[in-house]
Symmetry: C2
Subunit: 333 residues, 2 copies
DNA sequence: TTGAAAGCGATACCAG
DNA sequence: CTGGTATCGCTTTCAA
């Protein structure tokens, strides 16, 4: 692998000059520039980015933390970020935290050690203090789907409560009075907020929230199935179930089919997230649109603006959920 | 951020000694070791991995290239790799190539520039020559889902042809005689192989392959829908359709429903890959199991063995597809 | 506009 | 077992 030294030798200029044409920030005469370019081409020179990072304390790469590397939600998030950053020549390093405090922290520290210029975090398990401390360490970062008051301007988020509200309100408007709910893990902020929205919608409609109609899932498809089983066995009668995400909703629909319960005529189902295949389920799933791709883009833009000094970028930090009505929910008769 | 220099100063030893306790490969007296450890703790010292890489020409990270960051297939692949590598303290850097030659090459060069110790590549667009050249450059890598004779031992792959064969044979055994086929992009190796398997199965059953019953999709869900439309309009009558992947199969089933065609009674559908939600579709999808998680693990193990000198790892490079019979395919009457 | 030289933060070889 | 020192490949003042 050719080094900058060999290039400078072949071109008959100094190291510094070669470096200058690479980063073309300083003026270099056109003639020398051509010589250098030619030498680089001839040697098939590729700068060693590790050395660049060490010297400049800049890596042109941003670190991303997701909960899981698989799953439609994080897939879209990663794609959005990489697409956006790549256009500006920045690279993306991805790690996963598995919703576990220890592992999230380890991943974040790894990214920092890797001298990422900034971080985009979907951090669920790590404490507020840790994140606050990150800021005081001078680390540049932005949070997706988490709200911490003191870090407000670094939070790109969806109004989850409003989303939960919309989902439930939709069913109430359809005449449903007995609504079951399958929540995400209660310790997760978004799960809490979505549930709060649900309760608020009930209250506003004069319906009492019944703990017995509420099952705590884990956001996985299988827990939707488990949830439906549990509800059928332990809960009072209900005509619909609102799920805290689409994957659990999918689990519910599949299990319902196995149990011989028709969706939507006997049971309406509503999801949350609007993941890509919500529209390919049968029946197609009524859900709350979570513009995760847009939010991923926005997070990347934030970094571009704050860290890489791109101007003319409007940052918007709170996104609004939208109800997407499809076939899995119908009027209660 | 503390440096090794400050640690050595505080501990009253040389740089070299500090380095030695970090990498504990050379003997260091217990007493000095404790002094150093204490100093490190006191300063909250974290080695700078960029500097380590530059100096050691080792990064303890392996680069991964996938086609897309989203999608169930690549999600599982990435998860498998990261899970396996992390257990050994190695890190994963992920990039995407979007099935585009230019971008695949750029990503690979980025990973190399990043001094990854090895690469795991799902490279579709880059030429054989390029890959061959990679080897002669002395780069350690392993290929997933691609076969190049000269690189045979570096190829972790599924017998795609056999998979295509099984899918088609299954339908023929059920009595189908008019089989439509929706392939992946013809320029992709796996798409070719699966199609070959399909043709072989037809031939073995004495059925002629009919070009008019074959639509070329792009492995996306939407092209499954488009494919069915096209087939209904242009192709002779058929009683089933075999799809080169599950996502297109899902598209076919959804479109069939919209067209009022019952699956499976009027149309049997078979997919390929056995992605996680194949089992949540309605009807559940008959498909060919692609053990991508296992293959991702295996690729990681190969690297662990070859590059990081872990012993006692059995490497298996050709995986066997398995037919997974579910509800989307039934006997032809 | 260009060159010389001092780092960046570690590793690793060679002596002692 | 420990210390000194050259080195990795590049960036970035500082002068010229």
């Amino acid at each position: 692998m050719a080094t900058i030294y060999q290039v400078s030798e072949l071109a008959g200029v100094s190291l510094a000059t070669v470096s200058r044409v690479m980063n073309n920030n300083t003026k270099v005469s056109d003639k020398t520039k051509q010589k250098v370019l030619k030498a680089m081409a001839e040697l098939g020179y590729q700068p060693n980015s590790i050395a660049q990072s060490l010297a400049s304390n800049r890596s042109n790469s941003v670190g991303v933390l997701v909960s899981e590397l698989h799953g439609p939600f994080f897939g879209d998030m990663m794609s959005a970020i990489e697409d956006t950053l790549r256009l500006e020549g920045k690279h993306t390093i991805i790690t996963s935290g598995h919703s576990d405090e220890e592992r999230e922290r380890a991943s974040i520290e790894f990214l920092i050690g890797r001298k990422c210029d900034a971080l985009i975090l979907h951090a669920e398990a790590v404490t507020d203090e840790y994140l606050l401390n990150l800021e005081s360490r001078g680390i540049e970062f932005v949070l997706i789907n988490r709200y911490i008051k003191q870090l407000e301007n670094r939070c790109i988020r969806l109004d989850n409560k409003q989303g939960g509200y919309l989902a439930t309100q939709h069913l109430i408007k359809l005449g449903h009075q007995k609504l079951a709910y399958i929540s995400g893990p209660k310790w997760k902020q978004d799960a809490q907020e979505r549930l709060q929205g649900h309760k608020q919608a009930l209250t506003d409609a004069g319906i009492d929230f019944d703990e017995a109609l509420c099952f705590e899932g884990d956001y996985q498809q299988s827990s939707g199935s488990k949830g439906l089983d549990w509800l059928c066995e332990h809960a009072p009668k209900f005509s619909c179930v609102v799920c805290a995400n689409d994957e659990m909703a999918s689990g519910v629909m599949t299990r319902a089919r196995q149990l011989g319960i028709n969706v939507p005529s006997e049971l309406s189902v509503v999801g949350f997230d609007n993941i890509i295949y919500a529209n390919y389920l049968y029946p197609t799933l009524t859900t709350i649109d979570y513009p995760i791709y847009e939010m991923g883009r926005m997070a990347a833009k934030y970094i571009l603006k704050q860290v890489y000094e791109k101007k003319n970028l409007d940052i918007e930090s709170v996104f609004v959920p939208k109800l997407e009505i499809r076939d899995s929910s119908i009027e209660y008769v």
